[in-house]
């Protein structure tokens, strides 16, 4: 297999794992001000993600770093063309991170209220902006040999917004299901109910997204050329429906596992449609950024492949180990008793 193809797959995997892992943290953050009824419950929500949010966000840094190392031209143009959108994303992620870390380190209602808003906005904006960004990448950016002809406003087109909404809803359900697995009693039930309530909306938006994709993008071309690939969107849709079945059967862990699969398969569905493009151009096919015209040299890709194949399994191993250590549910009692809790 060509190294460009290997890195295309790794690129997709990094984004998929990132969205699967940070998706539930972002979802938890969006629910923060709505699901929790008291300060203690808000603390429970923060403590369910406290030990893992930072490690989850590193998948984003790695996806970014991998784009830089493997497809430098794509990294350069994507980040500079989407300058203002990425700036907003950056600010939101910074605010989310400090809000999680600092909320519990001060007292007073004002202090906590401020960071609560930070968690809410710092979670909603990234979810939306990532969706908008990927929606626009699926459509293609207005770029040609002379540069980029779009703006922040042009990114907020119908398809971009539908994808943004899809991401927001997907992470809301994903976060709700995570909380139904990670919290106790009434809070856990409320989280499960929230997932049940949001799920139909997610389903409608997902269907709309799949239909509009046929008109707004060329993602389906690859599927028409090799129908076997349709297995990926089929798994995505089955997992989405399976999620609801497991919710009805009161099997929260399986429902959460389904939402993990859904998130990853949604990302794969889109990225497979892009191949061999990383960012297609919507106005000049020759200016599309493909894995071939934007990649690093074979030498660099080889070195990076060796590094990835040695270290990614190690990372996955210690991550699973740490997730297992923190597998138990977090209760109001726990955060009240534990002096190290946030």
């Amino acid at each position: 297999m060509e190294f460009q193809v290997i890195w295309f797959i790794l690129w997709a995997v990094l984004w998929a794992v990132y969205f699967m892992l940070d998706g539930f943290v972002l979802g938890t953050g969006m629910l923060h001000n709505f699901l929790a009824k008291s300060d203690a419950e808000k603390r429970v929500l923060i403590n369910t993600v406290g030990p893992v949010w930072d490690g989850n966000e590193v998948w984003l840094l790695t996806a970014g770093g991998a784009t830089f190392a493997a497809f430098p031209k794509t990294y350069a143009l994507m980040f500079s063309y989407l300058y203002t959108a990425l700036l907003l994303l950056l600010f939101a992620l910074i605010i989310r991170g400090v809000s999680i870390e600092f909320r519990g380190k001060g007292e007073g209602a004002g202090w906590k209220k401020g960071w609560d808003i930070g968690i809410g906005i710092g979670s909603f904006l990234p979810a939306l902006l990532f969706g908008v960004a990927f929606g626009n990448i699926f459509e293609g950016l207005a770029m040609d040999a002379s540069g980029y002809h779009g703006s922040l406003i042009s990114l907020l087109n119908i398809y971009g917004l539908i994808t943004g909404l899809l991401f927001v809803l997907l992470f809301l359900v994903h976060g709700s299901l995570y909380l139904s697995v990670k919290t106790t009693n009434d809070l856990s039930k409320r989280a499960a109910n929230a997932a049940k309530k949001i799920w139909p909306v997610l389903l409608i938006v997902a269907v709309v997204f799949l239909i509009v994709t046929a008109f707004a993008t060329r993602l389906y071309d690859n599927y028409l050329a090799s129908p076997l690939l349709l297995i990926v969107p089929i798994i995505a849709v089955s997992a989405l429906i399976g999620m609801r079945i497991f919710m009805a059967k009161e099997a929260p862990l399986l429902a959460f596992a389904s939402s993990c699969v859904t998130v990853m398969m949604v990302v794969f569905t889109g990225v497979i449609g892009l191949f061999p493009n990383l960012i297609p151009s919507s106005i000049d096919a020759a200016s599309s950024l493909t894995i071939y015209n934007s990649s690093s040299s074979t030498y660099t890709l080889k070195i990076m492949t060796v590094v990835a194949f040695i270290f990614v399994p190690i990372i996955i191993a210690y991550k699973i180990w740490v997730y297992r250590i923190f597998r138990s549910r977090v209760s109001v009692d726990d955060v009240m008793k534990d002096r190290e809790a946030y």
Binding site: L61, A76, K105, I303
Partner: protein, 435 residues
């Protein structure tokens, strides 16, 4: 202002702000890990109290280091797209490796350390902070190998319209990167040592938890003395390497205009860039500059006039920063030495003036570290990659001054507020003392 100037300003603001948190993390992670190890080994509860108190301050600082770090990776693409396209083949690799081998370890085990007190054994808990310390220092290595490549590019060939990596071994054994790594991490240890000594001094002045803070102070004093000396040794190697690989930067750091054999070191210098000379020069130590640069007293040193005007770094900021850093470095060695002596004699509590000095000395190593980066980055101008690519050619083509104004103001406001919160929290927990 144009996009280049604004983007440089923004890079300066965001990287210098980020580098307020990094050095303390580098050093305090090791000190905290050492404290916890002492607790695991001796069972002495004071060490547990120390781990928790200094660990809390470590975490407040760490959080801001993490979130401001994301910006660092994004802005190469956002503001420096031409740079990223041109050198991504060789410069992207160390960044991606940094994330893979270091960031994951650091972020996963910090989570385990914060929340794992009652979930894993004492030994595993102590191991997790050691892994954080190791990963933090490892991430410094990769980022400084990347920066070292910008200072002294190796292992590449210019082809296909860009710099392509041809020798990964050369990239990771680049002496410039290793000198920078050694000099930078040890300067981080100094920051941490003076941070611990300063806060301990605050409490010793008030006779608070005397035993606790005396032990902390003594531990930090030894760590600080060793580190200040190592910084100076690393600095000496760095300077000698700079004279060899970046002679223009070296000449600017010393404000040396004429090429000379057996160059002396002037203690008093006021550079005059316009007239290409020094307005004032005084108290010359003969041959010392040649000795410093090439470790031989009559080596020839190239003066700034031997470089075309458009390839000289700005002399003023490079020279002043280098001098100040250098002076602060020696002052810090002296303070650390006194700290060790007074700690050994057990006369700390009665030396009020010294304790007051140590309290107000907390910012000095931070300042020295920032000045060092000014020398490194301003001194490399007009190049972004020394001799290969000019900074003016590296900036993104697609962004407008208005966009960068917005982001620069945004970063300044956001980072300014975060800085206030950070100082508030650090002061609050530092004053509160251990529980």
């Amino acid at each position: 202002m144009d996009v280049v100037t604004l983007s440089r300003l923004q890079f300066a603001v965001t990287s210098m702000f980020h580098f307020i948190f990094v050095p303390l993390t580098l050093g305090l992670s090791i000190m905290t890990a050492y404290m916890e190890t002492r607790w695991v080994k001796t069972g002495d509860e004071v060490y547990l109290k120390m781990t928790k108190f200094w660990g809390k301050l470590f975490l407040i600082n760490f959080a801001l280091g993490v979130v401001t770090g994301i910006t660092m990776e994004f802005q190469f693409g956002m503001n420096w797209a031409e740079y990223s396209k041109y050198v991504g083949d060789i410069f992207g690799a160390p960044l991606a490796i940094e994330a893979t081998v270091a960031f994951f370890m650091e972020s996963v085990f910090i989570g385990l350390w914060i929340f794992g007190w009652n979930r894993v054994s004492k030994k595993v808990h102590a191991l997790s902070i050691w892994l954080v310390a190791f990963a933090t220092n490892l991430s410094a290595l990769w980022i400084l190998l990347a920066n070292g490549w910008m200072q002294h590019p190796v292992g590449y060939e210019l082809r296909n319209g860009r710099a392509e990596m041809v020798d990964f071994g050369a990239l990771i054994t680049n002496p410039t990167g290793w000198y920078k790594f050694f000099h930078t991490v040890t300067s981080g240890y100094v920051v941490a040592a003076f941070f611990v000594m300063g806060i301990s001094a605050y409490h010793l002045l008030r006779k608070n938890e005397v035993d606790f803070f005396k032990r902390s102070f003594r531990m930090a004093a030894v760590f600080g003395l060793v580190s200040t000396i190592l910084v100076a040794i690393g600095g000496d190697f760095s300077a000698a390497n700079m004279a060899k690989t970046q002679p223009a930067k070296f000449a600017a750091s010393e404000s040396l205009w004429e090429t000379q054999k057996g160059a002396g070191f002037n203690i008093f210098v006021i550079p005059d860039a316009e007239r290409e000379c020094n307005r004032v020069e005084g108290l010359c130590v003969p041959n010392f500059l040649s000795l410093l640069a090439f470790h031989t007293p009559d080596a020839e040193i190239k003066g700034l006039k031997d470089f075309p005007k458009e390839e000289r770094p700005p002399v003023g900021p490079t020279f002043v920063s280098f001098r100040l850093m250098f002076t602060l470095g020696f002052l810090l060695i002296l303070l650390a030495l006194l700290a060790v002596v007074y700690g050994r004699k057990d006369t700390l509590e009665s030396r009020r003036l010294f304790l007051i000095i140590m309290l107000y000395a907390i910012p000095l190593p931070y300042l020295a570290a920032q000045l060092g980066w000014i020398v490194a980055e301003v001194g490399r101008q007009p190049w972004i990659v020394n001799g290969v690519l000019k900074t003016s050619a590296a900036v993104s083509q697609s962004i407008s001054p208005a966009q960068v104004w917005v982001s620069l103001i945004g970063f300044t406001l956001l980072y300014g507020s975060l800085g206030v919160v950070d100082i508030y929290l650090l002061t609050k927990y530092a004053k509160k003392g251990p529980q």
